[in-house]
Assembly symmetry: C2
Homo-oligomer: 371 residues x 2
């Protein structure tokens, strides 16, 4: 007889718990919101991308591209290009092409190893149907020159509605070369998906590096389009002077000639804060917060935050909400301050939720209105 | 000038928090495990199904079918059949066909309203590519007879490797009719996907209701296949006598003639616990735990739990792990006792994680080894 009276069995290793919260609730200007950890165990995550159909991609800086689904499966995608994973370099941004549902193509940015060091590169590739590998990978942009060291690669890639790509590029620690139009250092570039240069790009004169859109950036690690399709960026300053900009074609954003920051030595940088022919930032932080990823919310899930800019702080461990009215930022709200470590990327999900990656926690979080 | 010194801004509604856990850790016989809440805000969820590609479906008893993706989008699927949502009836089980990747077909069980009350029904339908609606829905099984009242509909549907479907059916509170082979009350049936009856089904004699596989069940609300493809079920007893069975073709599992339970009045039921021609349960609970969904783990993620049976308790708020050796259950471990309210469904995810639905919390949880 196989019968067993279970009621008299001893429970093994019984986990007793008070049944506490599985998500955290925070008060915000949009009312109470719930922050739920969706993915954990990530190793220095850098970017998250949402795919049509509802799955996600996450880059880890050391060179892994992960595919995640709702059922909790995590696949490491094969065929990612080799990266120079040191300092701030590695596998950086990932974005699904606007036509991903048809093409299954994604864009990656990364620090590509080369003679003399590394440079920021952009690749496009097809994600196989089973998400196991990248196929038909083409490198469509390589920053020049290649520079040694591990600082200021940028980089984010944003696809405009016209199919052209904005790519944000740091100055690799070569500050004055952010003004040198013969290089890609400290620039925003605009390229076509096949790597060619759009014919309506601005003209920076003879000898200019191909693809320049705007110059004089320090290290823009966040970028997003607003509802009108205009580019916004956020860049690291020095000891101060992190900037929000809205880069326009052919303009000069001033680094290192004008800045609201000071050198880490405490000495002033450049010529001050204003100069003819150079643009003022939309807003800036001093001291710096070490801003990384950026999102501009549609308001689909958070109507009160429609059009506002969200930026992750690596240094101060919070998500900044910048109250935006048209071209202006009128105030800042610090969200979740101290609760999550080193916010690396900030995105809007397809349903309008706010998502962020915490490098320190190795985790991906979703923010929704509390029930 | 649009400039604003953000460092001096007042943060609005700043949510300070200690950065506590977003998931709960429990000690178990497989070591520490983490229970993460993946979905919240569900209204009386009944079943969860995993789709190839990584998305999920969840039934809510009142008649909603939800499609969920990793990006947190929750779509209500249109085209679900009308259900009699009262008592224990409503929209019940959901399972993806084994060939879903090609066919996109799913199976649903539900209490279908009809003259005289309701009966358990099984439908197959195609989930549209955008998951917005069910297409080409066919009702492939209807329990007979239709009975009034809201008790004991069952029901789970399990697809065997040969493409036939096991469906577990409660006795609608008509206890003695679980022995009446002219009805589907208190039976397990086996049907083909087109609603026809497999030619190798057992023979219950002239006048038997079509499709019978085994008889004498009370209210089986959990079912799963083991690695050998054999069916296991779990059924509600009365005040005691919840049973785990391994229903074999043509067998009689005894309700209400033999049972280890007593009536809610405290009086004995039937003829005792044993009778010639009637099967003993693999194991039973007395007092009852009100068992619902069941999973048998592959061991992919929890090697120490390979082949073990997991059952959710609605009444005692825990997940039961039944240590299984072949056809025997040798001991029980009570997992997460008291931490989650009314466990309704228990499943293995495609990567081997353990998942469960809490009806009381309105939430879906994933269980993985703690990092």
């Amino acid at each position: 007889m196989r019968l067993l009276r279970l009621a008299s069995c001893i429970a093994l290793g019984l986990g007793l718990a008070a049944g506490g919260a599985r998500a955290e609730t925070f008060d915000t200007s949009a009312g109470p919101v719930e922050v739920t950890r969706i993915v954990s165990g990530l190793d220095t995550p850098w970017a998250v991308a949402f795919l049509p159909g509802g799955n996600m991609l996450i880059t880890e800086r050391d060179g892994k591209l992960l595919h995640l689904d709702a059922a909790g499966q995590r696949i490491e995608v094969d065929g990612v290009p080799a990266v120079r994973a040191s300092g701030q370099g590695g596998l950086l941004d990932v974005v699904a092409a606007n036509d991903f549902a048809r093409s299954r193509e994604i864009f990656l940015t990364y620090s590509e190893p080369a003679e003399g060091g590394a440079h920021t590169a952009v690749a496009v590739a097809r994600l196989s149907e089973d998400a196991a590998r990248l196929e038909n990978l083409r490198v469509i942009f390589r920053m020049t020159p290649t520079v040694s060291g591990g600082r200021h690669f940028g980089s984010r890639v944003v696809e405009r509605a016209d199919g052209t790509l904005f790519v944000t590029l740091g100055e690799r620690g070569q500050d004055t070369r952010a003004q040198d139009v013969t290089t890609h250092l400290g620039k925003v570039v605009r390229i076509n998906r096949d790597g060619s240069i759009p014919s309506d790009n601005p003209d920076f004169g003879p000898g200019a590096a191909p693809g320049l859109w705007s110059i004089g950036h320090r290290n823009p690690q966040g970028a997003a389009l607003d509802a009108e399709g205009r580019l916004w960026t956020v860049a690291h300053g020095a000891r101060g002077g992190d900037e929000i900009n809205r880069p326009e074609a052919g303009r000069n954003y001033g680094w290192p000639v004008i800045t609201f920051g000071r050198a880490y030595s405490g000495l002033p940088i450049g010529e001050g804060t204003h100069k003819e022919g150079m643009e003022q930032p939309v807003t800036y932080w001093d001291p710096s917060i070490a801003p990384s990823g950026m999102a501009i919310l549609s308001g689909r899930m958070f109507p009160g935050w429609e059009g506002d800019i969200f930026v992750g702080s690596l240094k101060d461990d919070y998500v900044s909400r910048l109250d935006r009215e048209g071209d202006r930022v009128t105030s800042e709200e610090g969200l979740f301050r101290g609760a999550f470590a080193r916010i690396r990327d900030v995105r809007e999900g397809p349903d309008g939720a706010l998502w962020f990656l915490s490098e320190g926690d190795g985790a991906l979080y979703r923010v929704t209105p509390a029930d």
